[in-house]
Amino acid sequence: MSKISAFLKIDAEHVAGDLQAAGAKLDGAPVETTLDFSAVSRINPKALVAMEELARIADEKNVKIGLRGVNVEIYKVLKLVKLVPRFSFLN
């Protein structure tokens, strides 16, 4: 069976919004989604809440989310709020 996948680039200026949009697109869509964070140097609490929500939806829909280009500072933020196990990280 072939896999369906999607690729979304996250805009540094609209991280929370892009993540919410990505969450909305998960509904009945690809089984794998990759979010490209390479343009994002920092996230704020709103983005963090959006990521928590995205992880929740992904679990619900059984969709795997891969994060690409996450810098180590953001990785540490995700680690501190226990979100790292909810995503896969791609180089």
Partner: protein
């Protein structure tokens, strides 16, 4: 950040939270979730980001200082509006002045010369409990500290100060977020509930509890099992000593004790006044608006402002004006009275006013002497004020010193007000704070004025440093045939030649005498031909003293030269304790004992070696035998190194063959061990390698043709050069084994070394079971060093392993040429006897300091194995069965 993985797990309910409703838990978890996200996001901020937020917060605090003060006074009914406004300003402006240039993000301090960098790591979420007495100022202070250190804070204010604290938190939060702080960085519990506090204190997301308040709050914080900064009650003793500036002292005490109606826990509680100035001081207080209570009034105060049941102050009096308190208890005072003064006769429950009183009632005590005054201050200090604050007014430095010694207080304020002085930054250069650490005396974790550094985890990045090394040799070394002629250049009025009978018989003493300048008075001290004993040393020192020697010539082998080194030490420094100087050490630069530098005499030591092995003429070591105690001690210090070494082969031309072999192998062992030592350096390598080259070339010739001048000369040089190498790089496990074995079985040092040498080389060349810590070495290099030596000797081989094997084979071949016994069994020692001795041998070898420079750290079992390899003999191609019962 301090959010443990346990956060993923359900939070276990502490006993105090079992009754917490699910709605309440959800509310608290919501606060924690916001704070957790804010703290996590905050880790991305730079120093510039943080500093951009702090400054407007400070400005907002200053702008709102009066407003917040008014809210605090109205809500708490404590203190003085103007003083509270001032406290809010100190909490912002003074704190900002301290923190503004401090680095709190990334590398905060660097010590390049030590290779150390301190890097800040935020704590994460801080639960902050704030007091009723300084409510808004404490909030402002903690908010500034938290932002400066990138932490989130959940505030839990005192229930009777919730409104003003909430307002303060809101002002700080809105300003901070407006200037870029993460949302959720501050929050304030919507109401005060002990169960809320208990839930939060035990929650795994809370990294630190910062509890400012009464003993109950502090105790709860410390009992939670969380890292906590708990700072609490005090009882400030003041010593007003007769030399003090009384006008200044009285004004300072009045200023401090009436500041915010005495609500600051660092304010003065009992002033102990010298008898000579007591009446004058009370008059000055009275003149400035204090009311001195008579005996009856004091009794009234004792039973009204102090709770007779608990012995603590009555809450109703806290933060009230003096006139209100007087009215409350029924004492008539003038309307402008600032403070009530109550004379007391002692400290303790029977003297109720000797405890902490957070209102303008001051106890005074008349002391008949400095001693009595200090004792009463100690009593006050121990009556609830341990670790907090104390004050002394005096111009006598000795009194201030004594006070500081006997009083246990985190802040000892000198000639200034206690409360405002303790804040720091106003009357002194202490760190500005609104939390006074009281140390273990107060059940706290610090005596500091709590500051930004308590809100940080400080990581130490420690770069590898190389120990400073050295290469020390005697001032002058004269070598080659007739080098003894150089003695003519050294002037002396009284020279003692220390030697042994054989040197005299062989005419060597006469040779030396002939070469001394004619005007030199020369005396002879002949000592036994054995390792020096204490008795021999003391006799030699007597001789040196008798002839007032200014020069010592040691003529002989290692024992004679060692004796002369110790005689010189005791002659120059008679109080030198040889036992103490022989104390063991790991690193000569960090050793515990110090060799004497003060000298009552000075004498030059010239060493003329008559063997080619020990190299004692250039080493800083001397071995002493203490027969009375049945042991040997080794002295090691560069001050023992002879001033001049004469390496003249004419004194070794007649060495017997056995001695030539034994001393030559000792020399080779020195050089090989120095080459692979963990203290080896390019300086010692050059000496060690050259010595090895000379030994391989000239030792067989010296042995086979004892009269070959060149070979003798080169071997004499080799011994000296090898000694220079091991004087600076030390030896290794070979010497540890040889020392133990030689002493137990009466085998000469060189021969014992020979028995161990090939096995130790194979051992050091293989992968260690335990590496020796060696900051100056990059990786394990012993096998490569052996390979380099093999190349130097032209032994061939293509790989390191090949080359090591060839070097071991060449060493074995050399030993064969010297007809030295090749196994312990060859010495006629039975296997049973050797096995019986093994536990003691292994213990002594392991205790021997020599191996501490060895590249491999030997296990005791490995020492046993090496002993058994030496018992069997031959290193290459041998396998040895170690008796299992004795292997460990």
């Amino acid at each position: 950040m301090h959010i443990s993985d346990a956060a993923q797990q359900p939070v276990p309910m502490p006993p105090a939270t079992k009754g917490l409703s699910s709605e309440r838990t959800a509310y608290l978890d919501g606060l924690l979730s916001k704070a957790r996200n804010a703290a996590a996001v905050f880790t991305q901020y730079t120093q510039q980001d943080v500093d951009r937020i702090v400054k407007p917060m400070v400005v907002a605090g200053l702008e709102q200082a009066q407003h917040l003060a008014r809210l605090a006074v109205e809500e708490t009914k404590l203190g003085v509006l103007e003083d509270k406004a001032l406290k809010n300003m100190v909490a912002t402006e003074f704190v900002y002045n301290y923190v503004k240039d401090k680095r709190t993000v990334g590398a905060i301090r660097e010590f390049p010369e030590r290779g150390l960098v301190e890097v800040a790591e935020p704590i994460g979420i801080i639960l902050s409990l704030t007091p009723i007495t300084n409510p808004t100022s404490t909030v402002l202070f903690k908010c500034i500290m938290a932002i400066k250190t990138r932490n989130a804070v959940i505030f839990s204010p005192h229930p009777n100060a919730w409104g003003c604290c909430h307002a303060a938190v809101r002002i700080m939060y809105e300003t901070a977020v407006k200037h870029g702080a993460p949302e959720g960085v501050f929050s304030c519990l919507e109401s005060h509930d002990l169960e809320d506090n208990a839930y939060l204190m035990h929650h795994s997301d809370i990294g630190l509890i910062d509890a400012t308040g009464g003993p109950g709050v502090v105790k709860a914080a410390y009992s939670s099992g969380k890292p906590a900064l708990g700072v609490g009650a005090g009882n400030t003793p003041v010593y007003l000593e007769k030399t003090a500036d009384l006008n200044m002292a009285v004004v300072d005490i009045l200023t401090s004790k009436t500041f915010d109606n005495g609500t600051i826990c660092a304010s003065e509680q009992t002033v102990v006044i010298d008898d000579e100035i007591y009446d004058l001081v009370l008059k000055k207080f009275t003149d400035l608006g204090a009311h001195v209570c008579n005996e009856k009034e004091t009794k009234i105060l004792e039973r009204t402002v102090i709770d007779p049941a608990t012995g603590f102050m009555q809450p109703k009096a806290v933060g009230q004006k003096a006139t209100d308190i007087a009215r409350m208890v029924g004492i008539f005072v003038k309307p402008d009275t600032k403070m009530l003064i109550a004379p007391i006769l002692g400290v303790g429950r029977e003297h109720p006013l000797s405890v902490e009183k957070l209102f303008p009632v001051l106890s005074v005590y008349r002391a008949k002497s400095v001693g009595e005054a200090l004792k009463v201050c100690v009593d006050v200090n121990h009556a609830g004020g341990l670790g907090h604050t104390a004050v002394v007014f005096s111009r006598n430095d000795e009194v201030i010193r004594q006070f500081s010694d006997v009083i246990n207080a985190g802040r000892i304020i000198v000639n200034s007000p206690g409360s405002i002085g303790a804040f720091g930054g106003v009357y002194n250069d202490m760190v500005p704070t609104f939390s006074f650490g009281c140390g273990t005396g107060g059940g706290n974790s610090t005596t500091d004025n709590v500051n930004i550094y308590h809100y940080l985890n400080i990581k130490r990045v420690a770069r590898r440093t190389q120990a400073h090394m050295w290469f020390r040799v005697p001032n002058q070394i004269y070598f080659n045939l007739n080098a003894v002629e150089n003695l003519r250049q050294v002037a002396s009025s009284s020279t003692i030649i220390i030697t042994n009978p054989a040197m005299e018989q062989m005419g060597h003493v006469d040779v030396v005498r002939r070469h001394l300048p004619p005007q030199t008075l020369v005396h002879l001290s002949v000592i036994p031909d054995a390792e020096p004993e204490v008795k021999t040393i003391l006799q030699g020192v007597e001789t040196l003293n008798f002839y007032k020697a200014d020069q010592i010539i040691a003529l002989g082998g290692g024992s004679v030269i060692d004796a002369a080194k110790i005689m010189k030490l005791k002659y120059e420094s008679p109080d030198a304790d040889l036992e103490e100087l022989a104390a063991p050490f790991m690193d000569i630069r960090k050793r515990v004992v110090e060799y004497p530098t003060e000298k009552v005499h000075r004498a030059r030591l010239i060493a003329i070696s008559t063997t080619s092995g020990t190299g004692s003429e250039v080493t800083p070591f001397a071995v002493l035998t203490d027969k009375a105690r049945g042991r040997k001690v080794t002295l090691a210090d560069y001050s023992l190194t002879p001033d001049i070494a004469i390496v003249d082969p004419q004194f070794v031309m007649s060495m017997p063959k056995v001695l030539t072999a034994d001393t030559g192998i000792d020399c080779l062992t020195h050089a090989l061990e120095a080459a692979v030592s963990i203290h080896a350096s390019p300086y010692t390598d050059s000496s060690a390698m050259q010595a090895i080259r000379l030994v391989f070339k000239y030792l067989p010739i010296s042995y086979a043709h004892p009269h070959d001048e060149e070979a003798r000369s080169m071997m004499h040089n080799a011994a000296c050069i090898a000694a220079i190498a091991f004087s600076n790089a030390a030896v290794g496990v070979n010497h540890a084994l040889a020392h133990a074995f030689g002493a137990r079985f009466g085998v000469s040092h060189g021969r014992a070394n020979a028995l161990m040498l090939p096995h130790v080389m194979v051992y050091n060349a293989s992968v260690p079971s335990k590496f020796m810590p060696s900051p100056n070495q990059k990786g394990y290099v012993a096998h490569k060093k052996y390979a380099t030596i093999a190349d130097l000797l032209g032994l061939g081989g293509n790989t390191v392993d090949d080359k090591v094997k060839k070097l071991v084979a060449a060493t074995e071949q050399l030993l064969d040429q010297l007809a030295t016994p090749r196994s312990i069994a060859d010495l006629g020692i039975s296997r049973e006897e050797f096995e019986a001795a093994m536990p003691e041998l292994a213990k002594i070898a392991f205790d021997d300091p020599s191996w501490r420079s060895n590249p491999r750290m030997p296990l005791v079992s490995e020492l046993v194995e090496l002993f058994w390899l030496a018992y069997e003999g031959r290193a290459l191609g041998k396998t040895v069965v170690v008796p299992q019962s004795k292997a460990r």
